[in-house]
Amino acid sequence: MNLAQHSNGRPYAKFASKCFALLCGFCTLLSVSVLLLLLWNVFSYGWGSLSWNFLTSWPSRFAEKSGIWSALIGSLYLIGVTAVLSVPVGVGAAIYLEEYAPPSRWRTLVQINIANLAGVPSIVYGILGLGLFVRMMHLNRSVIAGGLTLTLVVLPIVILSAQESLRAVPSTIRQASYALGATRWQTIWHQLLPVALPGIMTGVILSLSRALGEAAPLVAIGAATYVRFTPQNLLTDEFSALPIQIFNWTDQPQKGFHEVAAAGIIVLLVVLISMNALAVLLRQRFSKKVKW
């Protein structure tokens, strides 16, 4: 550093270096400020429309009377179905890949396949859902069809995160368990899963929060945007969901609907942030107990 200061060959070297540092700092500031701008914009626009009435009313042709009840309930049902389907299958697949499958071509193939599935655009899953669940299986535009589609969207993420938590358990734990005569499943059930659980739960919650915000696959399977009832039968009834409702309101030309959309976004973000907070809490709560 000192040499650079005193060398006369490059009088501006130090200055250029400072400028570059500032530039990079500015980029960081810009990235973060977008988030703040977004939040500020949404809250300042939507705060006025947010009320108990808004939460418990049906959508309407009039912006002032519009509410988010059917979308909120629809989203809750969808997340429920997605969680019930994706958690056992995802965690099961992760256990298989980490604990059962020996390193082989077949395992590499499955692994590459999962990594690529994670990168497939969600709208493509929507088209798959449309062709497979809605048409071929005749589930129509039901909550189950939506939940199945969202399950496929989040499954790769659940698998990858669960694999990571399982991999983080030291192999000495496995060896000790086997040495005491435990079978493979006893080792998994009594040793690995309890330790890996906080990590798996965190991954699951993050995946479900992704599912909660997904609109594209649901639009592709033809989810309704104007629903004035809550689904009674998961197999037959149509549904709406928070992101679809927000999309629909934002798509309206009238300013009034944009304010309602902002209020809807606040509801969505509050749900998302509380889910994330839960994930952080779980991670901190349970990770303290384990001491190797």
Binding site: S7, C27, V91, G92, V110, G119, P121, A215, P243
Partner: protein, 310 residues
């Protein structure tokens, strides 16, 4: 795991094997079935897309589909040239990359080379939150916030235009670039940096001349993954960029992307089995192949990077 085989053989030979062995075998099969679901998903995607697309290509030649310069399947006279949709997708992907790459790389360099641990601990979670914000919210931001600004700057701009979409999608894919690039930048060995400092280099020389080139392949992979996300991005683009399939490179005009077209058809009441209905499968197939290619290349680069530093 040799100990494992021994345990199971022991149990098997101990006489009271029946229940436990059957149970273990049953669980093994169940877990295998879970893993197979991922394979079935891929096969399902490919089959569904291919079957409907093949029927589509019986009525419309592949040549017309790939080289036609007009896209109007929902209006008479019908034209089925995907180039305008392709052009729209390209415009949004390129524009958002133009926004996200400099800002993202700058942020990644700042976080890995300059920021104190405290700043990093504040900025990284914030970027994670940004990554978790649903795409429809970015679409809202484009309509309510970005579009009026662009309209006031360029009077000739359409209300919904590609530039709108580029800006919001750029910030959407930013976290992908930052988190991946930062990882590879930090994994560059400290000794490389110190060797450069010892030769009298400034921090700028070290960063641009040593650290970034060493991490280049990983950075490239992050760009590719981000671009793949921009290509597949749907809701924000649908809301922000308009619905006019048009062969143009002018970002101020209203355009339509492949994803936005799929949404447009899905929202209407196009009956199943018609040619119009099948267009979304043909467009979906194109989109799938395109993003798959980008992802495969990026994964390949990343796997090589991991080998290098492990």
């Amino acid at each position: 795991m040799p100990s494992l085989a021994t345990t199971e053989t022991l149990i098997a030979s101990s006489g009271r094997k029946s229940f436990r062995v059957v149970f273990e075998g049953f669980l093994h099969l169940m877990l295998l079935a879970c893993a197979v679901v991922s394979i079935i998903t891929t096969v399902g995607i490919v089959l569904v897309l291919l079957i409907e697309s093949l029927q589509f290509f019986r009525d419309v030649s592949v040549w017309e589909f790939l080289t036609g310069t007009k896209w109007s399947p929902l209006l008479k006279p019908q034209h089925f040239g995907i180039l305008p949709l392709f052009c729209g997708t390209f415009l949004v992907a390129a524009g958002s990359a133009l926004v996200a790459i400099p800002i993202g790389l700058g942020t990644a360099i700042f976080l890995s080379e300059y920021a104190s641990p405290i700043v990093r601990d504040i900025v990284k979670p914030l970027l994670e939150v940004l990554a978790g914000i649903p795409s429809v919210v970015f679409g809202y931001l484009a309509v309510v916030f970005v579009s009026p600004i662009i309209k006031s700057l360029f009077a000739s701009a359409d209300l919904f235009n590609a530039a709108n979409a580029c800006i919001v999608v750029g910030f959407m894919i930013l976290p992908t670039i930052v988190s991946l690039s930062e990882d590879v930048l930090r994994s560059v060995p400290r000794s490389l940096r110190e060797a450069a400092y010892a030769l009298g280099a400034t921090k700028l020389d070290v960063t641009i001349g040593v650290v970034v080139p060493a991490a280049m392949s990983g950075i490239m992979a992050s760009f590719l993954l981000a671009i793949a996300r921009a290509v597949g991005e749907t809701m924000a683009v649908t809301l922000a960029a308009g619905a006019t399939p048009r062969l143009t490179l002018n970002p101020l005009e209203s355009i339509q992307t492949m994803t936005a077209y799929i949404v447009q058809v899905s929202q209407g009441d196009t009956p199943a089995g018609t040619l119009e209905y099948r267009t979304i499968f043909a467009v979906g197939l194109t989109l799938f192949i395109f993003t798959l290619l980008l992802n495969v290349i990026a994964q390949w680069i990343l796997s090589r990077v991991r080998e290098k530093y492990e």
